[in-house]
Symmetry: C2
Subunit: 358 residues, 2 copies
DNA sequence: TAGTTTTGCTTAAACGTTTAACCTGTTTTT
DNA sequence: AAAAACAGGTTAAACGTTTAAGCAAAACTA
């Protein structure tokens, strides 16, 4: 056996990868036995297992994932699609998905849609091509047509959506309570003494933004504030568009005394405009964002925002996927997890604190 | 043929995936012919090719990537390891790597080390396990031991490092000219009238940070400024540590009139401290960061920084990988690409502009 | 018209695992 | 002591492609 081993160690240096067969040859047993030994099959003796593992180590054996995936019909790869990774929200969701799935032997492939529907479709193709066992996705702003997602469903692999995507696809979804978040924001602003509250919202066709708009409208109603359609604006929610829409609000004869922006990025654009025009936040206009991106605590003034519990969303998304793959196709009940969000009050809307400063 | 097709279309609904054999059966040809037809092999007639492609479409055929990867011995997957994805620098690098590689039929698997050496090793194992054709990485702050990277090298797959990692591994590297960047910064600060320039730098064992330190020291020398060791501080460069190190500098009897921080994040921490203590930037103390993260333009005052050309780094890293896989193992010359960086002057160090404001 | 080349396939093996089915020798049961 | 159970394997097929080698028929060549 020692001679055999050293012969194989030579082979190692030729850069050809060690296979199960090499180990089998060294020990003069079958490849099947090696496979079983490595998986701690009960039909293999402890002695053999030890020997196999030792030789595997010596030969620097790395299992060929492609081969086993092919044989087993599953790749242990999960595809993740996000609009972009450079927002803290998505990057945190991803990190938590990864953490949960790694523990169960899954790896993730991250792809970015850059908010483009076309790229998103390409990503789906890519992921299906790579034989992922499932897809966890948050949709691009542009995405209206769901044909491509139907394609995933029809492949029979789990599809889990989070944040953007609670559409009519009838798939698992994890997100926060957008409707209630809007209520929290509006009520907070009313408490601060605001009476003309504007809302720079996202596209209505995206469920989450639509829910924020509904929440905004209903909260106004609840507190007997009139709904002024001039104060309800649809936006792409980029920094740039946040600037534009804020500028538009400032041209109104009857300016708002508070602006609730459905995204921190657009809120940042709004903040820049207000700062440039020396409009005091929160006393002239109070500002609230959405998402609790780290920069909301860095800018001047710091921006009040909604914490979306990104870590929890990521964990739940991963767990939902695991449930799906473990259960048989039957007995599947739809998972819709709606987490409570949290309002983080900062200087841009805290009139009490700002009064003390004066 | 029509009967056969409809029979197979039924099968489609049973969710079993269509294979090359199914197509072969429908057309009554061999699976090999189908494979060749799909790859436009010259030995297959146009007529057959058309028929194959048509049937493939009808049956919604998706090639099994695992099988072809196994057979061909390559996965067309490239692993990417970064400390984290939620900095703009890394996320931009990744995006550009992806763009270049997608065009050539490669997909990428992104993993994060969270600045942990242990996680980084786990990531490498994961990627090797997934049979990636190459690895593009930027090392964690913690990483000193290079054993794991040697492992990658010994597997014979291309390893390309960028930003953090120009170590003694003797592999391809893409980065910016850190030494010169320090010169640019120091000279800019001297131009602004600063005479006591501090440097909050990174760990010396990381080449890029060491180069920044050397550049700082040499630039001082060049302009006949004394090197005060109290003003040269080593830091982990997080926001938190930036705060700490700034506080330490403020306790000095002889305070600096400028602070050059080797990372925007730590610079942000420093900025917060200065703002809290009502120390005017740039007049009392000028501040310069490194990395040109978007938030440097968002905070008050905006922070002068170094643009690292992340997009170009990503593109070059991807191209270097492509070169490696295309060339035979022989005839490989080491690629070291050092890009020129660019100083972006903002309010935190622009005394001229700030004088005008007064 | 026999010989050569070309066209357009087919056959079969291979990639590295996993796993159902089988086999042999030993131990336990009755 | 014969039957049953078990331990510890082995064999062979399968996963879905790709590809080298082979082969028959058609088309060209001399």
């Amino acid at each position: 056996m020692l001679k055999r081993l050293s012969k194989y160690i030579k082979k190692l240096n030729t850069k050809k990868k060690t296979t199960i067969k090499d180990i089998a040859n060294v020990l003069n047993i079958s490849a099947a036995a090696v496979s079983k030994a490595l998986h701690d099959d009960s039909r293999i003796s402890e002695k053999t297992k030890k020997a196999v593992k030792q030789v595997a180590k010596n030969l620097n054996y790395q299992p060929n994932h492609l081969a086993s995936a092919l044989r087993k019909g599953k790749s242990n790869l999960v595809g993740v699609i996000v609009p972009r990774t450079n927002s803290n929200f998505f990057s945190s969701v991803i990190q938590n998905i990864e953490e949960v799935l790694n523990k169960e032997g899954y790896n993730i492939i991250i792809t970015q849609s850059n908010e483009s529907y076309k790229k998103e479709c390409a990503n789906i193709d890519t992921l299906l091509f790579t034989q992922v066992d499932g897809i966890i996705a948050s949709m691009a702003n542009e995405t209206i047509d769901l044909e491509y997602y139907e394609k995933v469903k029809s492949k029979g692999i789990p599809l889990i959506l989070f944040d953007r995507g609670e559409n009519d696809l009838n798939v698992d979804y994890i997100g926060i309570d957008d409707y209630n978040s809007s209520h929290m924001i509006v009520e907070h602003l009313i408490e601060q003494g605001c009476k003309r509250i504007a809302h720079i919202g996202g596209y209505k066709h995206t469920r989450i933004f639509n829910n924020r708009i509904k929440g905004y409208i209903d909260a106004l109603k609840k507190h007997d504030l009139p709904l002024d359609t001039e104060l309800l604006i649809e936006s792409s929610l980029t920094i740039e568009d946040g600037r534009k829409k804020m500028l538009r609000l400032l041209t109104l004869k009857n300016r708002p005394d508070a602006v609730y922006v459905a995204s921190d990025y657009a809120a940042l654009g709004a903040l820049q405009v207000l700062n440039e025009q020396n409009i005091n936040m929160p006393n002239d206009i109070a500002l609230v964002g959405f998402g609790d991106e780290p920069f909301t605590a860095m800018v001047t003034p710091t921006i009040t925002s909604i914490n979306q519990h990104s870590a929890e969303i990521g964990k739940q998304a991963a767990k939902t996927f695991l449930k799906r793959v473990k259960k048989t196709a039957a007995k599947q009940t739809l998972n819709k997890i709606i987490l409570d969000a949290e309002l983080v009050v900062r200087d841009s809307s805290n009139t009490k604190k700002s009064m003390m400063h004066l």
